[in-house]
Symmetry: C2
């Protein structure tokens, strides 16, 4: 006897939102159109060509020549885990620089792969100096240093000059989180000597969430090749994935075909604009936002030198219920901004200007809303 479903389900009707939070950001309309194509088979010659295109485009956006560059069939967190799962062996020392929420996540993941996890920490809103990093490398002599380039929880951009050289000097691999920088903030993986990196589809790439770009260089491949045992994660095992994404085209899992249509289109649009033009657009609109917020008497959480153009943390003024204000923006205007995480919970709002959403009209809109609506929430 089949149980019946008790009620009528109405057709999908999604409310319109302007997503100016920590992500997802809105998608480019052509990317959404790409998603709506009928799927093709994951071994269809057309799809095989599309995979190669996506790989080449991702390499360009990351400014890398890494052969092993591909979108993981999951979100950015899956790609984060893929970097750890593939190169950490039980007992390896992994040093994680924690200056926000996502540093903590890296440490949690590394511990699940039986790493000996060591951490260095900074307040949420600061960056590591090259001296602090060298001291920690010298102390802990790790196999892996994991850093977050663009901390979505704090709005901080970690300077990368010299970090890769240090990692080579101390003979460790450098893992870099570029979730909130790829496509919108300068990233030069090869020049920076980054060994593994990951990102997401829903921020600088203007595509919905669902894919996690991943890349690793020859040094990282070497560590993977010399593992004593299998990668303890089947789905994210790059040695298997490479048989599908590499020239063999051996079936691994059924690819999320439509999401790959989407990211291919989003990368094409980024190349069309020009990578440097996109970077310039993001910093220009961020500057407009920053000066506008300060003109309204609001204070920014991060020192200007380290501010991320994609994600701005704004201090919630004393006496304001930050959550009530952001709920008001969502319910009355369909505009999403984010709240603080961890150390910054209740202390900041997070405003994102990422990919398709980094444009002057959005800056004007959010500034206008802060101008007209915030006063109602002041006690």
């Amino acid at each position: 006897m089949v149980n019946t479903y008790g009620k009528k389900v109405s057709a999908l009707s999604v409310p319109e939102r302007l997503l100016l939070g920590p992500g997802p950001s809105n998608s480019h309309p052509l990317v959404l159109q790409a998603l709506a194509n009928q799927p093709v088979g994951h071994l269809d010659p057309y799809y095989i060509d599309l995979m190669a295109e996506v790989q080449a485009l991702l390499r360009h956006v990351w400014q890398t020549e890494n052969r092993l560059t591909l979108p993981m069939s999951g979100t950015g967190s899956a790609a984060m885990e893929a970097t750890i799962a593939n190169i950490v062996e039980p007992g390896d020392t992994v040093l994680v620089g924690i200056k926000g929420y996502f540093g903590n996540r890296l440490a949690d993941m590394a511990s699940r792969y039986q790493a000996k996890v060591q951490t260095i920490e900074k307040s949420w809103g600061e960056v590591f100096s090259i001296e602090e990093l060298e001291q920690a490398l010298n102390n802990y002599r790790p196999s892996v240093l994991a850093l977050v380039h663009a901390e979505t929880s704090t709005g901080v951009c970690q300077p990368m000059d010299g970090v890769g050289d240090l990692c080579r000097k101390y003979n460790c691999l450098l893992v870099l989180d570029t979730v909130t920088s790829l496509g919108s903030v300068p990233v030069f993986l090869d020049q920076w000597k980054v060994d593994l990196a990951y990102s997401c589809s829903q921020k600088g790439l203007s595509c919905p969430p669902g894919l996690g770009p991943f890349t690793m260089n020859k040094r990282a491949e070497e560590k993977l090749k010399n593992r004593k045992g299998k990668v303890p994660n089947w789905y994210l095992d790059v040695s298997l994935l490479n048989k599908y994404w590499g020239s063999d085209r051996v079936y691994h899992h059924t690819a999320p075909v439509n999401m790959n249509f989407g990211i291919r289109e989003s990368l094409r649009l980024l190349i069309d604009e020009g990578l440097e033009n996109s970077w310039k657009r993001h910093i220009k609109n961020a500057n407009l936002l920053w000066s506008g917020l300060e003109k309204l008497g609001l204070e920014l959480h991060v020192d200007e030198a380290y501010r991320l153009p994609t994600l701005t943390t704004v201090k919630i003024p004393d006496g304001v219920d930050g959550k009530a204000f952001s709920l008001h923006l969502l319910n009355s205007f369909g505009v999403e901004i984010g709240g603080g995480l961890g150390e910054l919970a209740g202390k900041v709002w997070r405003i994102g200007l990422m990919g398709y959403n980094s444009k002057k009209e959005n800056v004007d809109k959010i500034l206008n809303l802060f101008d007209t609506e915030l006063s109602r929430f002041k006690s």
Copy 2:
């Protein structure tokens, strides 16, 4: 200095395919339309309601009351790995019934989670009898028995009568692969006493690939709760995921929002048709296909009693180059059928009639193509 991308990338132009292989199948047009909505935030009140709807709809399609029912943010293989990752502890004995490609995958995954893996095997195209299963349970006394209900590699449907009772008798958890059965072939998880199950979005649910429905009951939750260590897979850790999908709504990862729009719509359409009506439609069209193929002098690989309505394995006649024939169908008619995997490579074609694609006009089309085109490939 930014490296430039050497060439112009043309706009996406996806060829039209009728997907009559092992999946993905074509999606319902309303599901594709759902995907093309602008995303909303993964903590948006609208999205939180949608998550609850998706869970309730999945429970219905699986005929289960399991609280922990949710779509994993990856493909079916991720959901498969989630069943293993959450309930296997190092040293646990996992018994895998292998009668096709996906049984082997389960065994590989279980070994990566440090299980002591035991297997029972049947030829690809056969099923296990209840006596064979009991004997193996009695021999190996496993913590987990993993079986494939609908083997996509062989076209076999494993009878489930009495299997759940056996697993309770021998005090082990029952994991069931319903990748090629959910929505199109009768599945009664609770009645069958299945403890964990997984599926995919791109077959019986008429949605593109990218989500992996997952469910576990109280018995499985108990095993998870009593683990000695953390789940050695962060992305698929149900104890973390449940804080997001359960009532706490604690952020875990940024959900693939648009894919969830899609699966919500696909489940709605399935409920609209009626689950039993969908099952009837699949068996009716499968019968048309089977009798039509036999009329053309072709032989089916699986005994009628165990044949899957969703996936039919057809023996490639002597002297025919099976791969050349399927390539011809793809290139000349835009119709995809599959080839054999593993033991059946080069021996069978695999014809899928799943979800949206299970309709008479598709049966007529593929029969007509076998009728008119196959003779050219006979030597």
